[in-house]
């Protein structure tokens, strides 16, 4: 019965979300305090779990290849795409994909930032390495936008550290050890979300706000140390066949598609950090976003198993290709901070 009620809430909320999607670019911005008061969400965890699970089950494409972005957006100038760079202001200002606009990662939940995002275009989210952009693509998709992340971020666009504003793609794997043993899982409570939300979108934004500054990834070296010290809870979300071919010691396996089902969530601790592992860091970042918003404490293993091991049986694909061509970038034509607030006439 409770479940049915939650379903009802979720479906009502989805209708509201769809209704939102048909609106023109909203404008008359009201501060958060004056937002329309809708029906309160009584079971925030359940509501968020259902909408997140539904999103995963829809198997929406998460990624777009940098090459495709170059060909379609820069060369062919296809107006159905909308590029959003979520790196730090200065990195965006120094070099960005021509035509990209900027919204900082930590501000991506804010209505004032998303109000201008088009609902009739594919939004391509660009970051340094594809991890935080995968998170924001998931967040904006939950909010009803058609958002994808550009694979590997600016590290997939250029090899130049100045252009990326961060590390280039790793060319070699670490060849760290993997195991085949499957650990037992123990049952856990699910988190309680203490959040008052008036709509599903409001709930998503409030949870996104709460986690806006949490760490996004853990480096392979750091994870290795914690695995060795047996202090890590590792969640492998790859296909079961690849998990069975080899995984990080102590990692449990819940394939991404099943991750947010109630039975799967019961396998996850709520008082310990969970390191999520996938093939290359993108799916795990998406999963990390959804779980963090649900009240878990998660990070993604940077670049996933493709950096942990070079064994293609395990990673199920080629290792990360670091032969990235140099592509065109643009500089911002504005100072980063507005001028002083002097009275103009």
């Amino acid at each position: 019965m409770r479940y049915a009620k939650l379903l009802l809430i979720a479906s009502i909320s989805l209708v509201m979300l769809a209704g939102c999607g048909q609106q023109k670019a909203p404008t008359a911005q009201a501060p958060a305090a004056a937002m329309p008061a809708g029906p309160a969400i009584n079971e925030p965890f359940g509501a968020l779990q259902q909408v997140s699970d539904k999103y995963l089950k829809a198997n929406k494409t998460l990624l777009i290849e940098p090459q495709e972005v170059f060909q379609k957006v820069v060369v062919a100038v296809d107006p159905t795409y909308y590029l959003v760079d979520i790196r730090a202001d200065e990195h965006y200002a120094n070099n960005h994909i021509p035509g990209a606009v900027h919204i900082s990662y930590a501000d991506a939940w804010r209505p004032v930032k998303t109000e201008f995002l088009p609902r009739d275009k594919k939004i391509i989210v660009v970051d340094y390495s594809g991890h935080s952009s995968s998170q924001i693509a998931a967040l904006w998709s939950l909010l009803g936008y058609d958002a994808v992340a550009m694979k590997h971020g600016m590290a997939g666009w250029s090899k130049n550290r100045d252009v990326i504003g961060g590390s280039p793609l790793p060319c070699e794997s670490k060849n760290f050890a993997t195991v085949k043993e499957v650990p037992a899982t123990t049952p856990h409570e699910t988190p309680t979300l203490d959040v008052k939300a008036t709509s599903e979108a409001d709930l998503i934004r409030k949870r996104a706000e709460a986690i806006a500054t949490k760490p996004v990834v853990i480096q392979a070296d750091d994870l290795l140390a914690r695995v060795t010290a047996k202090s890590a809870f590792v969640l492998d979300i790859r296909a079961t066949a690849h998990y069975q071919a080899g995984h990080i010691a102590s990692a449990i396996n819940i394939p991404l598609n099943n991750l947010l089902e109630p039975d799967s969530l019961k396998k996850l601790p709520i008082n310990q950090q969970i390191v999520i592992v996938c093939y290359d860091g993108h799916a795990s970042s998406q999963a990390s976003r959804l779980l963090n918003q649900l009240g878990y404490n998660t990070v993604a293993l940077r670049d996933g198993m493709s950096v942990w091991t070079g064994d293609s049986n395990i990673i199920g694909a080629k290792a990360v290709a670091c032969d990235v061509p140099e592509r065109v970038t643009a500089k911002l034509n504005a100072p980063l901070s507005p001028g002083p607030s002097t009275a103009a006439t």
Binding site: K24, P31, A34, V101, H102, D107, E115, F116, L117, A344
Partner: protein, 742 residues
């Protein structure tokens, strides 16, 4: 017969009043008139305060009374001819509805006179308590932009960032876009132009007399004037062509012109290559927006759009699209993009800094009074969110957002408000909402008359000298239309103050003295005059006798360059088709088509648009008896409606109708506003809209001439904020009109 001076006449008149009608022989006006017939007339130069144009003029004074005003023949704004408004506002010197002494609102809500010293003391004490508890950043100064300079000094001293102008209710998207794209507000060079396109700009309504003269001459010489406007406005009447447009779609029209210029290779490629940044970005985003697409939106045929684009290109660079003013630059959700597209059309013509195209204003070099640097408190963030990250980051912080002040008060951000020459209760959207200005802990209004904001919201009213009673530092005569030579003018006292009022500088000196800030304004207005004039080399006495002086330093055409590179003052030194600050904050840098927020659908629904009447200056003149007489004879408070639409609703010319709109705020119950208005049925208006003159709807009971006269566009609009530039979108309003009074 003994000459009767004004003073003795008043004494006699007062004596007469004291004894009633017992001594009628003393009131012989003929005798009085004859007695002063040969009294000397002095001619004193000053400039008008009837609108922001500030026309230089002469005031004639006889027997201590203002006799008449006339335009200054040198003045580039009027060539010696003043508009009706100038004559009207001059008479307001004697308007009985001026505030004649400082006033304080009592516990019963009624105003009582208070002495200046007591008012200063009480305001200072209240302000000190507010600042002590909430910091100086809880104080706001709201003013009609460009009319004063003392408020900013006051806020600096208090540590407040909240200097707010009226721009967000006027033409904020223009100043925002042009400052970011061009770093200048260029003006039209009518006298040398061969093809002039005006959209949303009516030089015959918001009159600049010299512009109308130049345009009339241009027409006589066979140079072309084309006006695009939903209404056959006064400018359209003297134009070669009036092209009606669906209101809210000027952006589509501009983009259609730009598309034609680019797709037909008509644009000035060498200019674009050398002086434009972001051309590719603009074209990438608009390649599909053809004249055909524009035509379907704006209801001007594709052939006409192409014809206009080709004519502009043929005559370029001696051709322009007028940069516009209030007409389009505040009223729509797409107003910022309208301003951006305007810059782009002109830049594609290569007419920037070109004769016959757009020229910078010729400005004299003026100084300012140098004061010792003061240790001043750090300011907080702007309460209105202008320029504040995650609020309204791209709105100009120097101008701010005026219309949502009641919300800032309700949220506790603002506790004290000073209003200088500013009446948001009548000039900002939704007067019922604006009335909540009164909920601030302290509201001080510095007005001339009993305007609505003073009457309904102020705790203290500190009346200022009328512009004909005060001296102000010199300023440049410039803006809107191009003139080759810099001009300078200063405001001179024409008559002695009639009432117990003060000039603003003395008001600020009195207030700050009561706040123990004696030395904040350590100068007189005469000191200021000297300091401002110093770099120009102009002698003060000469300016005070000649009134408007032109300097023989012609402004020359040519794009600004430094070391052979473009240097117009923007980030790249070029005209920027893509605004970097917009991109930095998640917005597209270039304009693309954005549909209006609302559209009329039902048979009784209309978009409400407004405009200036030639004899009124928005709300400033809505209590000027002489101008209101003109309003009566022209049926000037009537709402215009297209004939075909009126016939369908069985409405005849002169009928009284009910005009109704729904005012909605997030999280609140919608409110229905209904006003009775009379209808002017006309063929001179686009069918989907009704047009209301902007001046009327005075609702201050102390404004006895204008009270209850007509309705105002702000009555029908909710207070909203267009988030790129802060505009209030007052033409994104649908009204229902039905026959019969409310």
């Amino acid at each position: 017969m003994r000459k009767i001076s004004r003073r003795t006449f008043l004494q006699v008149a007062a004596g007469t009043a004291a004894v009633g009608i017992a001594a009628p022989q003393l009131m012989d006006m003929k005798a009085f008139s004859a007695s002063i017939a040969d009294m000397p007339v002095s001619k004193i130069p000053t400039y008008c305060n009837g609108c922001s144009t500030g026309c230089p003029m002469f005031a004639y004074v006889k027997n201590g009374r203002l006799w008449k005003v006339e335009g200054h023949p040198v003045a580039m704004k009027n060539y010696g001819t003043l508009c009706a408004r100038a004559h009207g506002v001059a008479t307001d010197l004697y308007n009985k509805d001026r505030v004649r002494q400082p006033m304080k609102r009592g516990a019963d809500g009624k105003f009582q006179p208070i002495s200046w010293d007591q008012a200063f003391k009480e305001i200072a004490e209240k302000l000190a308590a507010i600042i002590d508890k909430n910091t100086g950043n809880s104080v706001a100064w709201m003013a009609h932009g460009g009319k004063e300079t003392y408020g900013a000094m006051f806020l600096n001293e208090l540590g407040s960032a909240n200097y707010i102008t009226h721009y967000s209710t006027c033409f904020t998207s223009k100043t925002n876009a042009w400052d970011k794209m061009v770093a200048n507000q260029l003006t039209i060079d009518i006298r040398r132009s061969k093809y002039m396109l005006f959209a949303g700009r009516n030089y015959g309504g918001a009159i600049i007399p010299a512009a109308m003269k130049q345009l009339t001459e241009a027409r006589a010489q066979g140079r072309k004037v084309v006006v695009v406007d939903p209404r056959l406005c006064e400018l359209a009447k003297i134009a070669d062509e009036w092209i009606p447009i669906r209101p809210g779609t000027d952006l589509a029209f501009f983009l259609g012109i730009a598309h034609t210029l680019i797709s037909e290779n008509l644009y000035n490629k060498s200019f674009v290559q050398k002086y434009v940044f972001g051309f590719e970005e603009f074209w990438s985003a608009n390649r599909d927006f053809s004249a055909d697409k524009a035509a379907a939106i704006c209801d001007i045929s594709a052939a006409k759009i192409r014809e206009i684009a080709r004519e502009l290109a043929k005559n370029a660079p001696a051709a322009f699209l007028d940069p516009g003013y209030h007409g389009l630059h505040n009223h729509y959700i797409n107003s910022t993009q309208i301003a951006q597209a305007n810059v782009i059309v002109n830049a594609l013509l290569g007419n920037f800094y070109q004769h016959g195209g757009l020229m910078p204003s010729a400005r004299p070099t003026l100084g300012s009074i140098k004061l010792p640097k003061r240790l001043q408190p750090e300011k907080g963030p702007r309460a209105d969110g202008a320029g504040v990250p995650n609020e309204y980051p791209t709105v100009e912080p120097g101008r701010g957002i005026a219309q949502h002040m009641p919300e800032l008060i309700a949220s506790g951000k603002i506790k004290a408000v000073f209003l200088y020459h500013y009446n948001p209760l009548r000039t900002a959207p939704d007067p019922e909402y604006q009335k909540d200005l009164s909920k601030a802990d302290l509201v001080v209004s510095i007005p001339i008359d009993w305007n609505e904001s003073s009457f309904f919201a102020a705790h203290y009213i500190l009346p200022e000298h009328y512009y004909l009673e005060r001296m102000e530092a010199p300023k440049a005569v410039s803006g809107n239309i191009s003139h080759d030579f810099p001009q300078i003018v200063m405001r001179m006292p024409v008559v002695k103050p009639l009432h117990d009022t003060k000039p603003l500088l003395e008001i600020m000196q009195g207030l700050t003295k009561a706040m123990n800030l004696d030395d904040l304004y350590p100068f007189t207005v005469e000191d200021e005059v000297t300091a401002v004039l110093a770099p120009s080399g102009i002698d003060k006495t000469r300016l005070q006798s000649e009134g408007c002086i032109e300097l023989a330093m012609p402004i020359k055409p040519g794009f600004p360059e430094k070391d052979g590179k473009p240097a117009c003052g923007t980030f790249t030194g070029k005209i920027e088709f893509s605004i970097g600050a917009f991109k930095l904050h998640g917005r597209l840098g270039v304009p693309t088509w954005i549909p209006p927020l609302v559209s009329p659908k039902a048979e009784d629904e209309f978009r409400l648009i407004h405009g200036k009447q030639p004899w009124h200056s928005h709300s400033q003149t809505n209590n000027t008896p002489y101008l209101l007489e003109m309003t009566k004879s022209y049926q000037g408070t009537w709402l215009w409606m297209n004939r075909n639409r009126a016939e369908k609703l069985k409405i005849r010319n002169g009928d009284t109708v009910t005009v109704e709109s729904k005012i909605e705020y997030p999280g609140k119950t919608a409110r229905i506003v209904k006003k009775s208005m009379q209808i002017k049925v006309t063929d001179m208006l686009y069918p989907e809209c009704v047009w209301i003159p902007s001046a009327h709807g005075c609702f201050s009971p102390n404004m006895t001439y204008g009270f209850g006269s007509g309705a105002n566009y702000n009555d029908f609009a909710a207070s909203r904020v267009e988030s790129l530039s802060g505009g209030c979108m007052v033409q994104e309003v649908i009204v229902k009109v039905r026959k019969g009074a409310v």
